[in-house]
């Protein structure tokens, strides 16, 4: 009997002491899992694995950090899981498709989460979309592309990807003479089709097109809002918009690219844990070794804090209904 009492007392003591502990959360002896919404090998996965490698150094108690892939439905499955199933104990972090917020905006079926209710940690990198065309073509400016004849063949993977959505809006609002050929399995297949002159150009993230720009195969013509210094001088689609609505629709498409690699924790994760993880992420993205490795892997690191990321997310979801209506005609999340 006495032993049981001692046990209960010890338990009680533990419970009483926990809040004191929570002031300075420690992850010692624990395992933090980053759940990625895609299969191994893609950009989201590679980023998560790189972060997982450096994160233990900056979390109190140096926990083990592992990556778990939960692919499917453009990472909706993973987001549903982190939102509804994972415990809000600071040991689960989700890394999802940046466009989930747009999916929520156009009310895609099957989404069982609210992007604004996640405990936002932040984004480690932005996604820079550029339009590039073959260097042997005579066109150099946006005006040239409006006048281009015949229409330029632009390769795309499919709706919901920047290879498709970006040129689609350029054609609709800026009257660029483009014909979009969609259905290529991946962006590198598009690149090869450009190489064999089946296509005249493509849109896509600057980091993936850069090697081909350096090699002289294509030249960038314009970009979307999110940027890195190397392409800062290119014209931005929104600045050329003919009307306020067109500008708003274009902005809506590119806003998630500012938070290109989002990381979130389950809703209800205690603020002190979120703060600790945010700080760790902030330090990781300033770690010299991490930056060197990221640069080698083709990522431009720019940490956007969780508060800022949440603000951007809220901004998307409060877009005026008439803008959303037009946006919906162009955007498809699947």
């Amino acid at each position: 009997m006495r032993r049981v009492t001692a046990f209960l007392l010890a338990g009680l003591l533990l419970i009483l002491l926990t809040p004191a502990y929570a002031q300075q959360p420690t992850f010692a002896g624990k395992t933090v899992t980053i759940i990625v919404g895609y299969a191994p090998g893609g950009g989201y996965d590679r980023m998560a694995r790189m972060v997982a490698k450096y994160l233990p150094k900056y979390l109190a108690g140096n926990p083990t950090v592992i990556v778990q892939n939960l692919p499917g439905a453009n990472s909706i499955i993973a987001a549903n899981n982190v939102y509804n199933v994972a415990k809000p104990d600071g040991l689960t972090i989700g890394a999802f498709n940046r466009n989930l917020v747009l999916g929520q905006l156009v009310k895609v079926e099957g989404m069982r989460f609210d992007m604004t209710k996640f405990a936002w940690i932040g984004s480690t990198s932005n996604e820079t979309t550029v339009l590039a065309i073959r260097s042997d073509l005579p066109y150099r400016t946006v005006a040239d592309l409006v006048k281009a004849d015949p229409a330029l063949f632009i390769g795309a993977t499919g709706p919901g990807a920047n290879t498709y959505d970006f040129p689609l809006l350029l054609r609709a609002f800026l009257k660029l003479n483009l014909k979009i050929i969609s259905g290529y399995p991946s962006s590198s297949d598009i690149m090869l089709a450009i190489e064999r002159k089946e296509l005249d150009g493509r849109a896509g993230s600057y980091s993936s097109i850069k090697p081909f720009i350096d090699r002289g195969l294509v030249r960038p013509i314009m970009r979307a809002r999110a940027s890195v210094p190397a392409i800062a001088r290119l014209p931005v689609d929104e600045d050329l918009a003919p009307s306020e609505t067109a500008r708003a629709v274009m902005a809506l498409r590119s806003v998630p690219e500012v938070i290109g690699r989002p990381f979130v924790a389950p809703p209800g994760t205690p603020p002190e844990l979120v703060r600790a993880i945010r700080e760790a992420f902030d330090k990781v993205t300033k770690d010299r070794e991490f930056l060197a490795e990221a640069a080698a892997a083709g990522f431009d690191i720019e940490f956007v804090n969780g508060d800022e990321a949440l603000k951007i997310t809220l901004g998307v979801l409060t877009a005026p209904p008439d803008v959303v209506r037009i946006f919906q005609q162009f955007f498809k999340f699947e």
């Binding site: 299969a39 191994p40 090998g41 996965d45 590679r46 694995r49 790189m50 490698k53 778990q68 892939n69 939960l70 692919p71 499917g72 439905a73 453009n74 909706i76 499955i77 549903n80 079926e109 099957g110 063949f153 499919g158 709706p159 919901g160 014909k179 050929i181 969609s182 259905g183 290529y184 399995p185 991946s186 590198s188 297949d189 690149m191 090869l192 089709a193 190489e195 064999r196 089946e198 296509l199 090697p211 081909f212 350096d214 090699r215 490795e293 080698a296 892997a297 083709g298 498809k332 699947e334």
Partner: protein
């Protein structure tokens, strides 16, 4: 060039590169054996480790791992009828049939030897292709890729049974495969097809759970019903069987070489995916049977049905690397991940790899060759033990096999849907075997349907109908007609032979 070739070899043979390769090979060995866990996934998991390595070491490590998965994947396929890799399912048809006849040793010998030759051919092709790689890859546009898919689909004719009834069944199974390939979000407009409101099916049916269920479940049921060991009452061939298998490869040497070339070629063409090569090679092996009676032996344990896919799924590796190295355009999903490895070690794939970094490129050739020699040699050492597994009684083996099957399917998406797909296709596979419907046409339809759909759309959107007149397309149309007609030609030959015999 010769100098670079030697430099490449010397670089690979340096102790640190060689030891990284050995680690890679050891990992690849197990990844290949275990169903589900595939070469591509493992590449992604190993990628973070190469950051501090020199390029030659990194590729010795990564390619050493990846290039042996198909070799050891064949072992699981043959012994248990469970595809060890998505790229080794075709070896089951005849390989496992041989194992059930007590010829596991022979099948393994043939498979390993053909794998080795396939790897050598692929590596050689990579080395030889270096000067001509640009025209080689660039003549193949979307219309040609579409026609290659059609050529593969036309091979369904050869993979069907004999007679009108067999033909109709094969054709219907192929159509069913094409239908299954349509599940998921469509590639052009992203409309959801046949997803029944589930999120799981958005990305279509995963090839691994489908293949694992489709091939392994019927075998496990069969094993449970028979209650004996896999090899049943047949005595398991000892070392002589293994040697026999090795000899088989040399007996059908030209077939081995041709299937290796098929594999390399499919590898060179980006966008066709890793699963296609083995089936095209299998179809080719069937088509090259002299007449219909020879053809009938396939699927019942013909060693040529082991040699074909065995050679092709290894020669593919060298082929895959060609566009990856020369253009930075990956030839398969694995190569897309390997591409990340290039950047991590500070190399930019593209023309530089053929000039400035030529010795690194050649070190890849050597890695493929050495890794495969090591693996095949190591496997031969264990071969008798492995073949002995087919003599274990069913009640001991089945729980273990079921574990492999469930784990293998689940690794696809870590989703319960993987198990549902695996079990559904297991049931379908069981009934198809039970009622003698051919399974190969269904798989061919499934792996080629998506490719055919994509590239038909792209070709038409880009060229209208003018693509039909491209020379390479015309050649492929001719080959397609040949492939579709081949069973009828074989049938006629055998009838003529019978007539001769009767007279």
């Amino acid at each position: 060039m010769l100098e670079a070739l030697l430099q490449g070899l010397v670089a690979v043979l340096q102790w640190n590169a060689l030891s990284f390769m050995l680690i890679g090979v050891a990992v690849g060995f197990w990844v290949g054996l275990l169903p589900g866990l595939g070469g591509a996934t493992t590449l992604a998991l190993l990628l973070p480790f190469v950051y501090n390595m020199a390029p030659v070491q990194a590729f010795a490590f990564l390619l050493g791992m990846h290039s042996v998965t198909a070799t050891t994947g064949d072992i699981t396929s043959i012994l248990f009828g469970i595809p060890g890799e998505g790229t080794t399912a075709a070896s089951i048809l005849d390989g496992h049939a041989m194992a059930k006849k007590g010829e596991a040793g022979r099948a393994l010998g043939a498979s390993l030897m053909s794998s080795l030759i396939g790897a050598l051919v692929g590596a050689l092709a990579l080395a030889l292709a270096i000067p001509v790689v640009r025209p080689l890859v660039l003549t193949f546009g979307s219309p040609e890729l579409f026609m290659v898919a059609i050529l593969g689909i036309a091979s369904i004719a050869s993979l069907s049974g004999r007679g009108p009834r067999g033909m109709v069944r094969g054709f219907l199974a192929g159509c069913l495969g094409l239908f299954f390939s349509a599940v998921g979000s469509d590639p052009q407009a992203a409309n959801l097809r046949y997803t029944f409101g589930t999120l799981y099916l958005w990305e279509g049916l995963g090839l691994v759970p489908v293949l694992v269920g489709f091939f392994a479940i019927p075998e496990i049921v069969d094993l449970a019903v028979r209650g004996t060991s896999i090899a049943g009452k047949a005595s398991v061939g000892r070392i002589s069987g293994v040697l026999e298998g090795v000899k088989d490869v040399f007996r059908h040497f030209w077939l081995t070489i041709r299937c290796s070339l098929v594999g390399t070629w499919i590898g060179v063409l980006p966008g066709l995916g890793g699963a296609v090569a083995q089936w095209m090679a299998y179809a080719h092996a069937v088509q090259s049977a002299k007449d219909a009676t020879y053809r009938e032996r396939f699927g019942k344990g013909d060693v040529r049905g082991v040699i074909g896919p065995g050679a092709a799924n290894n020669s593919k590796e060298g082929g895959d690397l060609i566009p990856t190295v020369a253009f930075g355009v990956p030839g398969s999903s694995s190569m897309a991940i390997l591409l990340g490895g290039f950047f991590l070690v500070g190399l930019v794939p593209g023309p530089d790899m053929l000039t400035k970094h030529l010795s690194v490129t050649f070190s890849m050739v050597w890695t493929i060759i050495l890794a495969n020699i090591i693996t095949v040699a190591a496997s031969f050492a264990f071969l008798n033990r492995l073949a002995g597994l087919t003599a274990i009684r069913a009640s001991l083996l089945i729980p273990f096999l079921l574990l492999l099957v469930f784990l293998g399917a689940y690794t696809n998406n870590n989703n319960i849907g993987d198990l549902v797909v695996m079990l559904s296709f297991g049931m379908l596979g069981y009934f198809m075997v039970r009622y003698r419907w051919p399974r190969a046409p269904l798989v061919l339809g499934l792996v080629l349907g998506d490719i055919a759909e994509r590239y038909l759309w792209i070709s038409t959107a880009r060229y209208g109908t003018s693509w039909l007149g491209r020379p390479a397309v015309l050649i492929l149309i001719f080959l397609t007609v040949l492939a579709a007609a081949s069973p009828f030609i074989q049938e006629r030959r055998s009838r003529r032979k019978e007539a001769l015999r009767a007279a």
